[in-house]
């Protein structure tokens, strides 16, 4: 049987994490499923969790007044969804829209924040991984801003 601990350990985001820590994470985790068309979260709502995507595709949407919403990024199998749970004011900045059937592990942000406060080694492991994701997404966003395919 697939335990939550094993699923977390096998997700690329937590690759090489010591089993003691995956055990701690599993205490805050739950299996979740979203059907296509569902909004997993919406901009401005409280960000109390993040997701390890096991399969499916999520579109991050941004709304601007008098413009059609645009999809600024999609996330798929092996990706991580959400880091607003990590930093105050713990509010989502985008809409997350399931465009396919999503299987994911949800991690309770409050539970995890409390564990990270108690165990700074765990906190460091978690932050290290999120910092890497943030760095990659920042670089991708810079490239997106350059609008490299536009006619000059």
């Amino acid at each position: 049987m697939e335990t939550l601990e094993r699923i977390i350990a096998e997700h690329p985001f937590f690759a090489d994490l010591e089993s003691y820590y995956t055990g701690l994470l599993a205490g805050c985790a739950a299996n979740v499923r979203f059907h296509p068309g569902t909004y997993i979260f919406k901009e401005g709502e409280e960000a109390n969790e993040f997701y390890l995507i096991r399969s499916g595709k999520v579109a991050l949407e941004l709304f601007a007044p008098q413009r059609k919403p645009i999809v600024v990024e999609t996330l798929e199998d092996g990706d991580i969804l959400g880091w607003s749970w990590l930093l105050p004011p713990y509010l989502w900045k985008f809409h997350a829209h399931a465009t396919q059937d999503i299987r994911a592990i949800s991690l309770d942000g409050k539970c995890l924040r409390a564990k990270c406060e108690q165990n700074h080694d765990l906190g460091y492991e978690v932050l290290k991984r999120f910092a890497q994701i943030m760095e990659r997404r920042l670089e991708a966003t810079r490239m997106q801003l350059l609008d490299v395919y536009a006619v000059r």
Binding site: I70, V71, E73, M143, Y149
Partner: protein, 280 residues
């Protein structure tokens, strides 16, 4: 290796427009055939021609057709100015002049026995399409083919039907992304470098061929190197203002190189010091 130009390289050969097809709102593919009695021209994937639109001017355009089809030359052109607009609005049967092919090609022969990673951005897929044709035509000679393609939006994707057909070929992975997606787009959204995490790569046995805007190629080359490819196994197609196409005029000089004659395809190892210079 470049194909020898058998006629005077400065003398355009007469060709006729066989067909014009719209790829995107501003990009068109034209098929040209030599006028009766004129010789056709073979080419290496990655080479370019100088196309004369009579009375308007001359354009350097990469050949985007199938190297196995000797009876025609195919060009995909984005209409961004007077000359390109004049070219894409040619009617079927109209006459144009063709010089070339010129320049170095992609290392398709050297890549035999290895995996081929094709990374294209925007209209950069056009010069790489002949590589894909060549690998698929000699499928047994190559390992996996991985095509990573990024465009600005879903409306800007080239060769949509072919992308689907290529993805169905064995040992072939085709991943497509757009920088911004509308609500009806169900594919991947993100810059082309975000596709690498979904690509099944074997860096030590791969050769990568990259074409797109220069800044995109810089990001992609860095990504490929971080995945373990050697700088000598990453090839870029460079673009500068080409005029004579045979290294006489110097318009396309880039550092010590003439892009028209020494390129347009170069190993990243050769280009890296120049790509990082502000002045060039």
């Amino acid at each position: 290796m470049a194909t020898a130009v058998t006629t005077d390289p400065m003398l355009p050969q007469p060709y006729l427009v066989q067909s014009v097809s719209k790829e995107t709102p501003d990009t068109f593919t034209l098929k040209l055939a030599p006028e009766e009695g004129a010789n056709g021209s073979s080419f290496q994937p990655g080479q370019f021609s100088m196309l004369w639109v009579f009375g308007v001017g001359e354009l350097p355009i990469s050949i985007s057709g199938n190297p196995a089809e000797h009876k025609q030359l195919v060009y995909t052109v984005r209409s961004v100015g007077q000359a390109t607009n004049a070219f894409v609005t040619q009617r079927v049967g109209a006459g144009v002049g063709v010089r070339g092919p010129f320049g170095t090609g992609w290392p398709v022969d050297a890549a035999r026995g290895r995996d081929v990673i094709v990374v294209a951005g925007g209209i950069g897929l056009a010069p790489l399409r002949p590589v894909i044709y060549e690998v698929l035509r000699h499928r047994e000679d190559y390992g996996r083919l991985v095509v990573l393609y990024g465009a600005r939006s879903p409306h800007d994707l080239l060769y949509r039907q072919e992308l689907v057909a290529w993805a169905r070929q064995r040992e072939t992975q085709v991943l497509v992304t757009v920088d911004y997606g509308g609500m009806s787009w169900r594919g991947h959204v993100g810059v082309v470098t975000t596709l690498f995490k979904y690509a099944r790569l074997k860096p030590s046995q791969s050769v990568a061929m990259v074409c797109g805007p220069e800044i995109m190629m810089r990001f992609v080359a860095r990504e490929l190197i971080s995945h373990g490819l050697s700088r000598n196994d990453v090839y870029l197609s460079m673009e500068r203002n080409m005029k004579c196409a045979v290294g006489f005029c110097g318009h396309c000089q880039y550092g010590p190189h003439f892009i028209c004659k020494d390129g347009p395809v170069f190993a990243y190892e050769q280009m890296r010091p120049l790509l990082e210079k502000y002045e060039l």
